[in-house]
Symmetry: C2
Subunit: 198 residues, 2 copies
DNA sequence: GTAATATGTGAATTGTGAATCACAATTCTT
DNA sequence: AAGAATTGTGATTCACAATTCACATATTAC
């Protein structure tokens, strides 16, 4: 029996989410139109009613990821006004998010993502840059408040902040979840804090 | 005309190196038997005289990467006996190596690598773990010498050390080489040092 | 020098997955 | 309610890449 007809806007959301889920389970390599279709409950060719190509689906997934990452920053900002506390909170939330969504590192790292569309890489770069920009803003505020050392370059510190989480995510990934990244981030935090506080 | 016959051992080296080069240029996705064969100067089917499968080639590439990474550590150890200096040196050499061999992050990150053989992921994990182990050893020595803080857990610090380089490598990669990772590592080092020295 | 072995070659096979298309069923417009 | 637009379906096409195989040629062993 045919699947019930559903408006393109909703289907697009379903398809994007299914694609993200599929990447979570099988990596970017495992992302296939057939796989997405199965999860959504429609037939592969039906995907093309809502997206022009597989590349377009991947682009939508990227948008979704960007949304989630920035939502994280916004949330940390609403919890406390202390820059250091914001960073600490963000590091934990970011780690937690990656634990639940391995798709994010998969997509960000995978060269598969870049090979399709030439501009894709630039999109990913833009997502990371935007995220880093938010972190820089937090650090800069801390500097002006005198909480963070003056000789810290916000851009450098922001990348280092990422370094608090990124390698942990990689380890967590290759170790099949055995490496506890949440704990690592918690343990590493004091050292990171020590390196930037005034 | 047929390519000159060459002993399997040499061919295996050529093939492995060609595979690494190909990944450098086109990512793991771009790694094809045909592509490798072309670079080596033989016909695709000839690859199978020297490797049982494409998976076997990838395994060989992993071995090569492991070799290069550990050679780096050994070199840093031979330059100086001061643990802090060793780490500093290693960070710079590691960054330089990744700049020349983007294949390494490609392979380590790419899920493509894991999908083939189930044990592949464990192999990658083992490479990273071994590398981290070497770093831990250096840190541990520094602790015993009193140069590095006692409250630093070597395992945590080793992962943080990786965090000095890894996010920079990602940025360098997505920015098409515009982000200067060598400079970043150099700039970030003082902060990292500050976080671990006694 | 001859047989055995190793290496190289091109054609053919196989599998996979994205994309297209004609047609069917549903929903929307008026 | 009729016609237009939207969405779903199954068959099919297309490109591409890994692998196999029968055969050719060079190297090695004896």
């Amino acid at each position: 029996m045919p699947a019930p007809k559903t408006q393109t806007l909703q289907r697009q959301e379903q398809i994007t989410q299914a694609a993200l889920d599929l990447i979570n389970d099988s990596g970017v390599t495992g992302l296939s139109i057939a796989g997405i279709a199965q999860r959504v409950g429609i037939v592969p060719s039906a995907i093309y009613r809502h997206f022009n190509s597989k590349d377009a689906v991947i682009d939508a997934v990227l948008d979704l990821i960007k949304l989630r990452m920035l939502a994280n920053v916004a949330h940390a900002g609403s919890e406390t006004s202390d820059p250091i506390e914001q960073l600490k909170l963000l590091s934990q939330r970011h780690a937690a998010m990656l634990t639940e969504n391995r798709a994010i590192p998969y997509v960000v790292f995978s060269d598969t993502v870049y090979t399709g569309d030439p501009g894709r890489k630039a999109r990913v770069a833009q997502i990371i840059t935007t995220y880093l920009g938010e972190i820089e803003t937090i650090i800069d505020r801390g500097r002006k408040d005198g909480i963070i050392r003056k000789d810290i370059v916000p851009a450098t510190a922001a990348v280092m902040f990422l370094g608090l989480i990124l390698p942990a995510a990689v380890l967590w990934n290759v170790s099949e979840g055995k490496f506890d990244m949440i704990t690592h981030v918690k343990n590493a935090w004091p050292a990171f804090e020590r390196s930037i506080v005034a």
